[in-house]
Amino acid sequence: MIAKHIKNLAPSGIRQFFDLVLGMPDVISLGVGEPDFITPWRAREKAITALEEGMTSYTSNKGLFVLRRAITDFLEKRHNLKYDAENETLITVGVSEGLDLAIRAIIERGDKVIIVSPHFVAYPALVEIAGGEVLYLKTRQEDGFKIDISELKILMKKNPKAIILNNPSNPTGTAYNAEELRKIWKVISTKDTIVISDEVYDELIYEGKTISFPALDNEAKKRTILLNGFSKAYAMTGFRIGFACANPDIIEAMTKIHSFAMMCAPIVSQVAATEALRAQKEVVEMRMEYKRRRDFIVKELNRIGLVTPKPQGAFYCFPSVKNFKISSLDFAKRLLFEEKVALVPGSAFGKEYDSYARISYANNLDNLKEAIIRIERFLKKL
């Protein structure tokens, strides 16, 4: 009854592990992919007011103009990146929808798409649903999980239709600086490949400075679909608001699918997101808190024997469990049963990463400290 290409999506071992975690009480979870902060009050208050004022209708397919305008103003201020709010900006239901739209708008059956691994789980799944073929560009821990330019060159010879970049990255927390992005772009620009740049963690960067991919140069801007949203930096996962910026042709195509599949993003969430862009003080405070936690957890993981490169952004790190000669899924299961600490096995982010685990530090410092005590005790038993 179910379509074959849907049946085969996502490794089932991971799904069963997730069910185990969700069914177990009192677990300290380092497996959460969302902020532990609550949305800044000023954004919530606007949402309440919007409901009181009776804002309960559809919006235009592309989303409220005032939000699109606030976003383009923000991008110009942050990255000196100029997009037209009318023709080059689309409000999506989270970055997840933006990603789906971007892929469906440009990928035809058989088109090749480069995905940098370890990768966010949705990337290969959405490419496969669209009928595309995934080319994995593997990165290594010793390179800080950054793209190896010579390997990128080899894959580019296969004329990929698109490459998906995630900067900073889920699950590794790796972030690229402007110079590194320029080197990557130099290779990509030799072909007609479109860049889908998922920058949802753009504002959660703790070391140095990154730039938005389309801000590299005019040609990069023409060829990039920029995806970003409010879930992470603004702690608004439940509001489901993302956005896409790209040249008018691509936005038009994405809007077409969006108008049939989704109509528009929820109006109350759009109003809240507009206000959230003014909550920069809260964003800075959350970022400072994540940075403190990152410094703590990376230092501690390395101390107790899990080799962990220091990530520059997002709220994840990607330690290796290689020294313990155990698969990431077994490691995760035993840690869950024996010490009630949850994390995500590395194999969820690419089958070559079975000797890694993703740890999210979107959790308060007390929990992180307790988790370290438990993991250390667990490692001694291995």
Binding site: F18, V21, L22, M24, V27, S29, G31, V32, G33, E34, D36, F37, I38, F120, V121, A122, N170, M288, K291, R292, D295, A342, V344, A348
Partner: protein
């Protein structure tokens, strides 16, 4: 306001190590700044915000008292205010514009203690023209901290 002050106002017990990380300044600079603030009276005191409703038998009575006073020649309200704020029962004393002059917060172990403070100490003062007392029923928020209920954020234990 200086970042150090903002952080200390939210959490006076933060460690120097954390302050260094948060401000990017070194320990020496931070210590010097804090000493300076203390000397200038900008930082007055370090205290804990306690939700007394949660302490067994710790439930004192708090009254807000609006006091109308007659200002004195040359020293205005200040001398009268000093006469009043020196009573240890007075926790807060503010001079306000409007229909009355001083707003006091007075704490006592029960309603009788507060009442006798008013009738025996405050009201008999010659410069006090009148007082209106409001007993506090419930504290929802104090010094920026919400006491009434905690916000909950129940996340799924595991998500991508």
């Amino acid at each position: 306001m200086d970042e150090i002050l903002e952080i200390l106002e939210a959490n006076a017990r933060i460690s120097f190590e954390d302050l260094e990380k948060l401000t990017g300044k070194n320990k020496k600079e931070i210590e010097k700044a804090i000493k300076d603030y203390e000397k200038k009276g900008i930082i007055v005191k370090y205290k804990a915000v306690i939700n007394k409703e949660k302490i067994k038998n710790g439930n004192g009575v708090i009254a807000l008292i609006e006091v109308r006073i007659t200002p004195q020649k040359d020293v205005g309200f200040d001398a009268v205010a000093e006469r009043i704020y020196k009573f240890p029962e007075v926790r807060n004393c503010f001079l306000l514009s409007g229909t009355y002059d001083l707003l006091l917060t007075v704490e006592g172990k029960d309603i009788h203690t507060v009442a006798s403070f008013i009738s025996e100490k405050l009201a008999p003062l010659s410069s006090v023209k009148g007082a209106v007392t409001h007993f506090m029923l419930k504290k929802y928020k104090e010094d920026g901290v919400i006491l009434a209920k905690k916000e909950k954020n129940e996340r799924l234990a595991i998500t991508y």
